[in-house]
C-alpha cells in the first residue's frame, strides 16, 4: 500500500488556457508475491492512458514478468485500453510494469464556463437520444458499489440550489467534500461502502470520487469515475524520489454542449495539466487497474510503485507551489 501524504490547504488554481502542453513520463509497477507457486493466472490490466480531450498518449510499454504465454490488447466498453494476458509457467512473483509518455494540454476553455442550469442538464440527458446523451445517461444509474439515494441527494443539495449552473455547483460540491472530509488512509479499505464514507467523513481519493459520483447521480446528473495519476512535486530543493507517487481517482460530470468536465474532490480542483487520465468508467470496479485470477498462490502480498516525472523541466507556474495528493 502506498503512503498518502496529506492534502495541501492551498487549492490548485485551474490552469490558464495559454499554458503549453506538459509531457510526463510515468512508470507504474505492480508486484504480487505469492506464498505458494501459482501454476496458471489470467489478468486484465487497464494501465494504458487514454488519448482524448486534452491528452495524447505517446509511447506505451507493458512489461510482464514472468513473460505471459499470451497477451492481447483491446478496447473495453468505455473505450479504455485493456491488456489481457495469461501466465502458464509456475511462478511465485508477478511484476507488471507500465511505462507511458503522455502529453497533457490545458483543458478547453469551455470547461471553465459555469454551464447550463443543473436541472436542464438532468432533463436533457434523460430525454435526448444522441450518442453523447445516451452515453451520459448510462452514468446516471446506481452501480453495485455506488448507490444513489436520499442521503447523497441531501448532501449535494446545499451546492445545487435551483437554477444554479451545473459546473459552478459541481465545483462547489467538490470544494465542500474537500473541506468537510478528512483525508485518512486508515479510515477505509477498497470495500468500504460509500454510505459509510459519508457517515464518517473520512477516506481517500477513491472514496471521495465515489461519494461525489453518488451525490451527482442522486440528483439525476451523469457522473463518471476517472482513474489516473496526479503530479506531485518534491519539496523545494529536494530531488524527485522514485516510486513515491500513487494512482489517483477523480470524477467527471457531463454537460451537454461542453462534454465531460473533470473535478478532483481530493485536491479541491478541476482536473488540469497535473492530471493524467488512464481510464473512465461508472465506478472503480469497471476499470480497476489490474484484475486477475490465479490457480495456487496461497497468501498474496501486493506492492505498487508509481513515479510521475514531468519531462519539460520543473514548471515555474503557480501549481509548482501546490502539492496535489492522490
Amino acid at each position: 500500500m502506498i503512503r498518502h501524504s496529506r492534502p495541501m490547504e492551498t487549492p490548485v488554481p485551474a490552469p490558464a488556457a495559454t499554458v503549453p502542453t506538459i509531457r510526463y513520463r510515468i512508470e507504474h509497477i505492480t508486484a504480487y508475491e505469492y506464498s505458494q507457486t501459482v501454476s496458471v493466472s489470467h489478468h486484465m490490466a487497464r494501465l494504458r492512458p487514454r488519448t482524448g480531450p486534452g491528452q495524447t498518449l505517446g509511447d506505451f510499454q507493458l512489461q510482464v514478468l514472468p513473460a505471459p504465454a499470451q497477451s492481447e490488447t483491446d478496447t473495453d466498453y468505455f473505450g479504455n485500453g485493456v491488456d489481457r494476458f495469461s501466465i502458464q509457467e509456475p511462478h511465485e512473483r508477478l511484476e507488471v510494469t507500465a511505462r507511458s509518455e503522455v502529453a497533457v494540454a490545458a483543458r478547453p476553455a469551455a470547461e471553465t464556463e459555469p454551464g447550463l442550469p443543473w436541472e436542464l442538464v438532468r432533463d436533457r440527458v434523460a430525454a435526448e437520444r444522441t450518442p453523447d446523451c445516451l452515453g451520459a445517461f448510462e452514468c446516471v444509474f446506481p452501480t453495485a458499489i455506488v448507490p444513489v439515494g436520499e442521503p447523497f441527494a441531501a448532501y449535494a443539495a446545499r451546492s445545487f440550489a435551483p437554477g444554479r449552473p451545473v459546473l459552478e455547483a459541481a465545483m462547489d460540491l467538490t470544494t465542500r467534500i474537500h473541506r468537510e472530509f478528512a483525508f485518512d488512509p486508515t479510515a477505509t479499505t477498497v470495500s468500504t461502502p460509500v454510505a459509510e464514507v459519508l457517515r464518517q467523513r473520512r477516506g481517500v481519493c477513491q472514496d471521495f470520487a465515489h461519494l461525489q459520483i453518488a451525490c451527482l447521480r442522486s440528483l439525476g446528473l451523469p457522473a463518471r469515475y476517472v482513474s489516473g495519476y496526479v503530479r506531485t512535486d518534491p519539496p523545494p530543493g529536494r530531488p524527485r524520489l522514485i516510486g513515491v507517487d500513487a494512482t489517483h481517482a477523480w470524477v467527471a460530470l457531463f454537460c451537454p454542449g461542453i462534454g465531460w468536465v473533470e473535478f478532483d474532490p481530493t485536491n479541491r480542483s478541476r482536473a488540469g495539466r497535473d492530471h493524467v487520465r488512464v481510464a473512465v468508467g461508472r465506478d472503480y470496479q469497471d476499470i480497476s487497474p489490474l484484475r486477475g485470477t490465479v490457480i495456487g498462490g496461497g497468501w498474496q502480498h501486493l506492492s505498487i510503485a508509481v513515479t510521475v516525472t514531468p519531462l519539460d523541466g520543473e514548471p515555474e507556474k503557480p501549481e509548482s507551489r501546490a502539492k496535489p495528493v492522490p
Binding site: H42, A69, F137, T189, R291, G292, T293, I295, G297
Partner: protein, 860 residues
Amino acid sequence: MNPEVSEQAAAAAAAGSDAAHFQRWLRQYQPPAGRHDELLTAGGRVRAPWARFLAQLSKLRPHDFEHRWEQARKLLVEHGVTYNVYGDPEGQERPWELDPVPLVLGADDWATIEQGLIQRATLFDRLLRDIYGPRQTLADGLLPPEIVFANERFLRPCVGLPAAGGRHLPFYAADLARSPDGQWWVVSDRTQAPSGMGYALENRIVIGRALMPEVARECQLVRLAGFFDHLRETLAAAAPRPTTQPHVVLLSPGPLNETYFEQAYLARYLGITLAEGEDLTVREDRVFLKTLEGLRPVDVIWRRVDEGFADPLELRSDSQLGVSGLLQAIRAGNVTVLNPPGSGVVEAPALMAFLPGLCERLLGEPLRIPSVATWWCGQEKPCREALSQLDRLVVKHAFHKGSKVSYGRSEDPGGRAALTGRILDDPRSWVAQEEIPYSTSPVWGGHGFEPRQVTMRVFLVAEGDSYVVMPGGLTRVAGESQSRPGISMQRGSGSKDTWVLSDRAHEPQLPSVRNRFPVVIRRSPGQFSSRVADNLYWIGRYAERSEFATRLLRGVIGRISAESGFGAIAEIGPLWDYLILLGHLEAPMSHREPAAQGFAPLELALKAAVFDPKRMGSLLELNSQLLRLGRVSRDALSLDTWRIVRRLGENLREWPSVRRLGDLMPLLDRLVNLHAALSGLAQENTTRTPGWAFLDLGRRLERSLYATGLGQTLLEAPDADRRAALDAVLEVFDSAITYRQRYFFEPRLLPVLDTLFVDPANPRSLAFQLERLDSHLASLPTELRQPHSTQSRGVTTRALERLRATDLGARDVEEERQRLGAMQHFLDCLGPELESISDDLTRQYFSLLRPEQFAPEAPR
C-alpha cells in the same frame, strides 16, 4: 369397465361430452367460477381433448390406477428426482412433487402457443442482437434506455461478443397462464438460462411411460424425444469450427444448485459432459476440460451457471462458479456458450410493456401472444395509471426477477400508501402488472379429480433460423384450491406432465432430425473429467470403509448377542479394539470388563456405532457420505448402482427402534448383501474406463488399509486373545470357508495369517488387493504424471515381492515367534506407505482441480 361402455365414452368424446360420462373421475370436480377450466366448459361439458383422454383413462380399473400411481411414485424416488431448496434446514433436497393427471391440450390450442412463442423468441433474439450491438432501438426511442442501462443483467463486457450462427438466444422458455376468456398470456420470460426441460422429460417418463402408457398411445400423445434430438443437433451445430464430434459440456453450478438434478439428468440423457467451473480452464483463449488424460478442448458450453458468474475475470469476481477467461475465448471464436452471457437482460418484467411496439418494428407484425398487462413506472403516464388502480395490480421490481412481489389487493389502505411511496421513491425500478385469474385443471385428489390453478412453462430451442418448440412442457400446479402455483419451484408447488394430443388437421409432430454422418466408433473413454474420477475414487474408498466397518460390527454384535453371554467377549477383543482405534466405535469401557457396568452402556455404544448420524465413522455417517458422493457422481453411475447407494443410506434411516442388539443382525446382514451387490456391479457391469480404475483403486486401497490395520491390532493383542478371535477375524474377511477347505483343524494363527495376507488366490487377502492396486497403478494415464511422484507403484511392487517370498510355516514355537515378528514388522511398515499412495494419486491426478482464487485488486 366393460368395452361397450368405453366405446360409448369414445363416441361421446368425439362429439364433446358432458361430465356425467366420466362420473368416476369428475364426481367431485367443481371448478370455481370466474376462471377458465381446462377440462370443463362453462356449460359443464368436457372439452374435446379431455374427452379423448378420459375415455382412455376410464379403461383403467380404479385399483389399477392407484396401484400404478404408487409404483410410479416409487420410480420418482428411485430416480432420485429432487429439487434443492436454498436455506432449507432439513438438508437441501426436496423430493419432486408430481401429479398423475397431465394437463391435456389439443393440437389447435397448441399450434397457437407454438407460433406465438416462436415469434416471441425470434423477437428477443433480434432485440438482444441490437442491445449488444448498435442499440438502434434506444436511439429510435422504441425502448427506454433505462431498461438497458439500469438493468444489472446488461453485461457491458458482453457487448460485441460474436454469436454463433448469428443466434443470440438459442434457448428460450416462457411461463404461460390462461385467462378466463381462454386466451394464453406470457407471465414471465426465461432467457438467461432457462431451467425445467429435464423435469418435464422426467415427468413424461413417469406419467406417459410408467403410469399410463396405453392411454398415451391411444390418445396419440405427441412424444418429447424428437425435441431432444433437435436440441442435441443444435448443441453440436453450435461448435465454432466444423468438427466431426464437437465436445459439448453442460456447465453446472454444482450439486447445491436448485436444479442440479435436471442438469445431471440432461447431461446423461443427451450424452454430453457434465462439468463445473473447476473442471474447465482457459489456455490460449481456448476452453479445456481437465481430464485424467490431460486437457481436452471444449467446443460448446451449455451454460447453467448464472451469466453474471460465467467469467470471474471480466464479470462478477465474487464467485468461482465460472471459468476465468471465458469471454475472451468466446471473442476469439474458440467456444460457443449457450445461452450467451448477457441474454438475461431481456427477462426484465419492465420490458414487457414495450414488446408490442418492438415486435411491430423489428418483425413487422403484431405480437401474437400478449404479455400480462404491464405498467412500467419509469414513465410518467403509465406510473399514474398504475398508482390509480393499485388495488388490483401486482407490483414487482422492474429488473430483478424473483425479488419480492406485492399484491395490491391484499394490502390495506395503509399498506397501499406505503407501496405507493416506495414506487414514487424510485419509479423506474418498479412495474405493476395485471393479476390474471389463472385457469384451473384437475389434480388427483385420492378419489377423484379436484381443480387447481396451473401455469405452464414451454421450452424452445433455436434451429436454423427459427425455433423448435417442445410439444409439452412443465406445468406447475398450486398446492391448494385457492392459491396460485409458485412461479418458481423454490416456493414449493407441484408439477404435472403436459400432454399435447395430435390430430390429423394439426400435426405437431416435429420434423425428424436427419441422420448424422460419419458414424464414429469409439472405445476410448472419451472425456473423463478429473473431478468425476476424484469422486469415483472416494466412492470406492467409502464403499469399502462402510463395508469393512459393517463386517466388523456384525462380527462383534453377532457374538455378543448370541446366547454365549459374557464369555464370548474374549473372542471379539481385537475387533473391538480395532473399531475403537478407527473411531467407528466410542466405548465407555474396555471389552474386557463389561460385567462391571453391565450390558447397557455397551449396547448403547454399539447402536451409536450404527445409527448415530453425528458420529464420524458410524455406519449411518459413512453411508451418508457415500450417498453424497453418489449424488454428485450421478452422471457417472448406472441406475442400478445408484439405487444400491441410496438403499445403503436409507436402510439405516428407516430402521425401527432397536430393542435388543440381536435385532440389528438382519439389518447388518442386509447391508453386507447390498455391499456385495455394489461391488458386484462395479466388477461385472462397469466398463473399464479410467473412471472404473479409480473406483476400484479406492476400494482396493481402503481394503488394504483396513486389512493391514486389523492385522496389526491382531498381532499386538495378547496371545490368548488373538487365538480366541481367529474365528471372528476370518469371518470379517469372509474367508472362513476358504480356511476350512484348506485346514481341517481349528483356526491357528500362522495359517490364518497366510490365508488373509499372503495368499494371492483369496480375493479378500491383502496380497490380492496389492496385486490389483499394482496393475491399476501401472495402467493409469501417464500424460499428467509428474516425474517426482511415481513412488506409488514402488510401494505395491515391493510389498508384493515381500509377500511372495513369505513362508509362514513353522517347525517350532521359536520359529512361529520369528514369523509373527516379521509379519508384524511388515504390516507396521506397510500402513504409512499405503497412505502415501493416496497422497500421490491426489497430487498426480487431482491437483488440476484446485480452484482459482482472485488476486486482490490494486488498492487506491
